[in-house]
Every structure is written in C-alpha cells, then in structure tokens.
Symmetry: C2
C-alpha cells in the first residue's frame, strides 16, 4: 500500500490574458476595475466572454473557478491534513506546478485569481521565502518521465469503477490520478496517449471535477482509517 | 430506510449590505464597479472589509463564498442527480429557503452573488416561472416545527461518527443534517437548542462546510448503491 494519493489537475484553464485580446475594451475595463496592468490579468470567461470570441479552443479556456473549487476540495481533506497527498496543476499551456498540501488556498475567487496570475508570471508563490506552489516541469511529458508510476485518468469513457476501487488501486500502485479541468469537450489526444488507465466513477451524467476528487478522497480516507465508527 | 438525504446550511452569511454602511466609500465603490444599486449589493467581506469594521458579529457575516462552494458540492452529487436530496439555506437573518436539487448554481462566484442578492430581495429566483430557490419559512423555529424529523448538527463538539454512520442514521430516521456556514465561532445558542443530536466526522482540525457535506454525500451514495464495483 502506497503512502500517498497523488492528483494532477489536467489542462487547467489558467492563463494570463493573451496578447491578441489585450486591447479589447472588455479586457481593458476589467484591468482598470481591478487596478492591475493588463499583462497581470488572468483570463476569466465570465468577464471576458466577448473578448474571447475569436480565441481558438475558447470553450476550454478562462475558467479559474473550476480549478479553485477543485483545489479547495482537495486541500481541505483529512488526507491533506495528514500529509498523505501530492497535488499538481497542469495548465492549458502545458506547464506543471506542484501545490504543497499545506497551502491555504484563498476562499474568495478574486483572491485566488490574483494568486494564479502571480504564479503564472513568476513560476512560484509566494514570490519570496519557501514556495507553496511552484513550477516543476515545462511539459506534461517531461513531468511524467520523472515519475516511475503511471497516469490514470478519470474520464467519462473510462472503465466503470467505484471510488473505493480507484482509491485503493491508486494507493497500492502509486498511480497519479488525472482529472480534467475543462468545462466540456475531451482531453487532448496528447494527454490521452500518456495515460495507462482510465476510470469512470458514476453511470449517470459526467460529474464535475471537484465531485470526482471529493469521492476518491472520501474513499481513500476510509481505507486509511481516518474515520471513526 | 428513508428515501432522501436532507441538508440545511445554517447561519449562512448571506445578506444585502446593511443600511448603516451603505454610505461607506468602499461599499459605494463596489456598487459602481458592478453597476448595481447599493441596495442590491450582497455583503462580501473580501470587498467590504473596512466598511464592516463596525458591524456586530462581523466574523460571521459577508461570506457568500462559503455557501457557494458548499452548494456546488451538494448539487453536483449523484444523490442530487437521482432526486434523493433536499436542500435548505438558513441565513443569518433567520430566513429559510428551499433549493430545488435540479438547480444549476452559477460556477462563478460573482454570478452566484448576483443570484443571492435577487433571492434576498424577491424571496425567490428566478423572478418569473417555476421557482428554483424560494423562501419556505421566516424563521428556523417555524421551519422545524413544520417537519416531523429532528435536526442533527455537524458540530466540532458533537459525537465522533464516520460519514457512513451519519449518512445511514440520517437516511433511516429522516434527520435534517445542519452544517454551519460560518468561517469561525460557534452556532448561535438558539440553533444549538433546536438540535436533537450532533456529530463530528474527523478527529483533527474542524473540516470546512463543503468537505463535511461531500463526505456524507459520498457515504450516502455508497449506501444507496450508486457506485459500481
């Protein structure tokens, strides 16, 4: 039995506002509103919907809220508290960051967005002292090649498996559990090719990323004996 | 075995900006920013921190983010999908609202805040057609007196019990499970007095509201047989 559960949030829709739309009035207005430079602004579909109209693959971009809710779920878990968790963020730009499990994620989305903009610019947060979130690889391929254990996706076309089975296989084999952070569409083919296995938890409609994470955590915590009678 | 799991989000820190601070520059600035009337603005500690300095019990107020994350967790569950969930919001102002389990909560906090402001003003959302969230009682006492089954709190001074035990007792006895929505401090005495039981899931530090909800949902879904092997 492995010691830790490892998650990677795949294709996380976190990016600074891209160059080609920095002049758009909606973008400039939101930078003014937040009192930041346009180059320090995180892309947010809810604010930049019109500005994003011409961006390629726009349905998978500008959704920091999904990453936020998922991280809040993962990092508040007893498993994180007990130091039995490894968490990584892989972004749409193919960077990989490690999130220390003692990190206190801001509960308010606007503060989280500020933190993520800083992370993307500097490669780490906080800027000084011991880093809590920091870049560990410049691509998913590079990151995976540094690990012995395989990547298992939570994927709507994966094999049906209960949270308990996923958690116990992940703990036994040290699998890295990959959860897609996009609101719709599918994993990129380059991500799918890297996975050695794929699971689906529920027979109904696809679950949100944070629900998938919470169910696996719950099962792992039971396996690890953190609950009472 | 009961048919449904029932949650009530207790002392939810949802309120419109109170009269006494509507003139504060921080409040007026944020109303301008969002392009809404000050009277339609939801109190948000992250934006109104200075303005809130003089408010009584300010540590339990202005935290729509906690309710948001908890509702997103509850309503994305397989249990909600299968129609086996009842959800209520009790606010700091002692109103009780029912949330239909098919409600799609906005994923973005700013949109959720707009929805909650509308709910507090009109007593229901959407304003027209079949309501999805609507007032059912003008006080917690009135609400509880309309139900046969008891209120069980998730409370750090409750009896230690696993998510599975809490879920199975709640399903068997039709208990209403009350989760506190405040960031710190304790339940009001008037709420504590109304509870017939109290549970604590985890022996370590207190879990966040959304984690408590997710663990109980996970256990209930296993009991109901929604997971595969």
């Amino acid at each position: 039995m492995g010691e830790r559960l490892a998650f990677i949030l795949l294709e996380s829709p976190l990016e600074l506002v891209p160059d080609e739309i920095r002049g758009h009035p909606q973008v400039r207005r939101s930078a003014r509103r937040y009192g930041v430079d346009v180059g320090d602004l995180l892309l947010d579909k809810s604010l930049h919907y019109n500005a994003m109209a011409a961006l390629p693959r726009k349905w998978k971009r500008g959704r920091p809220d999904i990453v936020h809710i998922t991280l809040l779920n993962i990092l508040d878990s007893p498993l994180a508290e007990e130091g039995k968790l490894e968490v990584y963020i892989h972004t749409v730009s193919n960077r990989v960051y490690r999130v220390e499990s003692r990190t206190r994620i801001p509960k308010h989305l606007e503060r989280f967005k500020g933190l993520m903009a800083q992370l993307l610019k500097l490669g780490r947060v906080p800027p000084e002292g011991e880093p809590l979130i920091y870049r560990v690889a410049d691509s998913l391929g590079e990151f995976l090649s540094s690990r012995r254990e395989g990547l298992a996706l939570l994927w709507e076309r994966g094999e049906r498996a209960s949270p308990r089975r996923v958690a116990s296989e992940a703990l036994e084999e040290g699998l890295l559990l990959g959860i897609g952070m996009f609101p719709r569409g599918d994993f990129q083919r380059s991500v799918l090719r890297k996975a050695s296995r794929a699971y689906r938890l529920y027979g109904g409609r696809p679950l949100k990323a944070w629900t998938v994470a919470a169910r696996i955590l719950c099962a792992a915590e039971e396996i690890m004996g953190y609950w009472g009678e």
